[in-house]
């Protein structure tokens, strides 16, 4: 009847992040913050969770001496997102 919703993606902020990342080659912390409207603390925590799940890669570099966090979606992330959207359809399609 209803497919299970991956709890890692069933979160407003993490879903927004994935939604941004699926459409771009990469996105840095500041860009993700702008797009999602999240606080830095919340974004930092949720990015870590996505990275630990293997859904995104996080590259921490420096631009000059300022930290710069660049994120990319992984293949597993793409798959999980697609599966999540399919599962959602079982709840919302009439």
């Amino acid at each position: 009847m209803f497919k299970e919703l991956n709890p890692l993606l069933h979160s407003e902020l993490r879903l927004a992040v994935m939604s941004v990342l699926i459409g771009v080659e990469s996105a840095d912390f500041v860009f993700l913050r702008q797009q999602t409207g999240a606080t830095a603390g919340n974004l930092s925590v949720q990015l870590d969770k996505l990275a630990k799940a293997g859904y995104i890669d996080i590259e921490k570099t420096f631009r000059g001496r300022m930290p710069c966090t660049v994120c990319r979606i992984t293949g597993a992330g793409r798959d999980a997102f697609e599966e999540y959207v399919e599962a959602l359809q079982t709840y919302i399609k009439r």
Copy 2:
């Protein structure tokens, strides 16, 4: 960019309940349990939340001497569900 997801509907079980109720005139506790696969405790709590939000009406009657809880979606519930689905589109449509 992203529309806010109504936190009352952004919950796997409550969303499943609403999804069932939107398609039927009414549904009792046992039917909702079957359709969603939820535990009785969890279902009871989540039904209360939906009722408190005005998204469903709960009628507690008896069938013989056994309790019987009948649920119906309200107009507000229908509206909220529709808005939630629209908000979701901003996250998942490519």
